[in-house]
């Protein structure tokens, strides 16, 4: 058995999402419960079937479980950083594989828009990190970190502003087909170029959308999943690596090395390759991250992501339809969670006007100091 094979197969059986946008009457707990109720309804399970609970961004695990009157035998919570969505899903797989739980609820609640959360500036607790060491020089936002990476990618490889604009406009066209997307009005490349800069070379349209919302997933073993009325979506491949050393500064390799490790582990576990993917869900906090992920996961050669996407490959009718929901850039910044929900729904064929015909394998990829990837599949091997 290859080293990256694991014996316990797992599956997503329930998916729940709230509306996204400005929902001031809900706090993060409420949004999490709303999403969890949707997910349980989706798979026909009840609260009492949950024996594992993994929370993300919801402030307090004890309060959350108290609100829903739940006593799981496995509980954990993780910080409200988007890179933790893939991490949490892999933790659920590990908990199921180890027998720590048999039905795991993953719950994400984010009231960042109504709470006035900032990614940048003195009150930023999620994005800038640290004690504001670089504020005296005006280095004050996570967007600037990605602007620095984009500028260097342009310098090294000739990547152009319009390549970033194509990522944003492609995902917006997808969002136009998603009734739950927050921003659904398509824009042209000319309109992209005319939009204001936030941190050059990034325009407003290169930034994700801060909103309120919640997402929940219900995972169980493949064996149990097959007994449920709705067909399981298998977690067929997964992998994780990190690049924390020196990570106060943009990585010289745009996270290429950890992504290569994750790509190998994920495809080996799945017994699949890039060409087998019917759609991609690419972590898109900012547009340049999409380019780095495509290179790191081997969809295109290093440095060629710009021209590669300019051939329309990420569009719904392209070779690798990506972020069919509109992603963080146009649906809502649900920190990877909604992208994973969309992946499951694509494999189920539930995506209506934005459905990728015959989607069987959909891959989530996240380029960040924690790299993760998950392959969702209609077949378990």
């Amino acid at each position: 058995m290859p080293k990256n094979r694991h014996s316990t197969r797992t599956a997503v059986v329930g998916v729940g999402t709230t509306r996204y946008g400005r929902l001031p009457e809900y706090d993060a707990y409420d949004l999490g419960v709303w999403a969890l109720r949707e997910a349980l309804g989706d798979c026909g399970l009840s609260f009492d079937d949950i024996d594992g609970l993994i929370l993300n961004r919801i402030p307090d695990y004890q309060r959350f479980a108290e609100i829903i009157g739940l006593n799981p035998r496995f509980t954990t919570t993780t910080p409200g950083h988007g890179r933790f969505s893939g991490n949490c899903i892999e933790m659920a797989v590990a908990a199921l594989s180890a027998g720590l739980a048999s039905t795991v609820a993953l719950v994400y609640g984010n009231n960042g828009r109504s709470a006035g959360d900032e990614y940048g500036g003195a009150t930023d607790i999620y994005g800038s990190g640290g004690p504001g060491l670089w504020f005296p020089w005006g280095m004050t936002s996570p967007g600037a970190f990605h602007a620095l990476m984009a500028r260097r990618h342009m310098h090294l490889y000739g990547t152009r502003q319009e390549h970033l604009g194509l990522v944003a406009s492609t995902f917006r066209r997808h969002a136009a087909l998603n009734p739950n997307a927050v921003m659904r009005e398509p824009f042209t490349i000319e309109e992209y170029h005319r939009s204001r800069y936030i941190c050059e070379p990034l325009h407003l349209l290169d930034y994700c959308l801060i909103n309120d919302g919640g997402v929940a997933l219900i995972l169980t073993t493949a064996e149990r999943a097959r007994d449920l009325p709705r067909g399981p979506v298998y977690i067929r491949g997964f992998g994780q690596a990190s690049a924390f050393a020196g990570s106060a500064f943009p990585p010289d390799d745009f996270w290429f090395e950890p992504m290569q490790h994750v790509a190998r582990a994920t495809y080996e576990r799945a017994g699949l390759a890039q060409r087998d993917m019917d759609a991609l869900m690419i972590y898109d906090n900012f547009t340049p991250t999409v380019l780095f992920a495509l290179e790191g996961f081997g969809f295109c050669p290093v440095g060629e992501s710009g021209p590669w996407i300019a051939e329309g490959r990420l569009a719904l009718d392209g070779e690798f339809p990506a972020n069919t929901s509109g992603g963080h850039l146009s649906e809502s910044y649900m920190q990877g969670w909604a992208l994973n929900a969309e992946a499951v729904r694509q494999v189920r064929g539930e995506c209506g006007a934005r459905q990728v015909a015959g989607a069987r394998n959909v891959q989530y990829v996240c380029a960040s100091p924690i790299v993760t990837s998950i392959i969702y599949s209609s077949e378990d091997s």
Partner: protein, 143 residues
């Protein structure tokens, strides 16, 4: 007397105190591991390369290269509004340490990745001097 200075200021009482003291004396001070020689900033008790605990603050060359730059069109602090749009440069020093800083005397449209730079010292308040950079004079033979 510092009423005119409205940008964020550093704390001077923490472990980076020697860095700020050095800046006031026109020196770029970094921590250097006494076990493996690796430089580091910000201050840390342990070396990220060898995990050694012995270190000292030393004056460094102040020479480096622009790794990248970006231009802020949004001010997250009021103090930057007068300079909009302003640039931030990512510098890699000869000693391997990276810093975010500003380039003095170079317009935004003349910023270039790969350019050699040298530290310069800009008084912010009587207590605080910021280390910034200027394009290095080629005659100085900076590689």
């Amino acid at each position: 007397m510092t009423a005119a200075y409205t940008k964020p200021l550093p704390r001077l009482d923490g472990p980076n105190r020697p860095f700020w003291g050095g800046a006031r004396a026109a020196k770029l001070m970094l921590q250097r591991c006494l076990d493996c020689g690796t430089y580091r900033f910000p201050a840390a008790r342990y070396c990220a390369s060898c995990r050694g605990e012995r270190a000292q603050w030393v004056a460094t060359s102040g020479r480096g290269t622009i790794q990248s730059f970006c231009i802020f069109h949004k001010a997250y602090f009021q103090g930057f509004e007068a300079e909009m749009p302003y640039s931030v440069v990512q510098i890699r020093l000869e000693e391997g340490v990276q810093l975010f800083s500003n380039l003095v005397g170079t317009p935004n449209d003349a910023l270039r990745i790969g350019a050699a730079v040298a530290a310069c010292f800009e008084t912010a308040t009587p207590e605080i001097t910021l280390i910034k950079f200027k394009l290095a004079d080629r005659a100085e033979g900076n590689p």
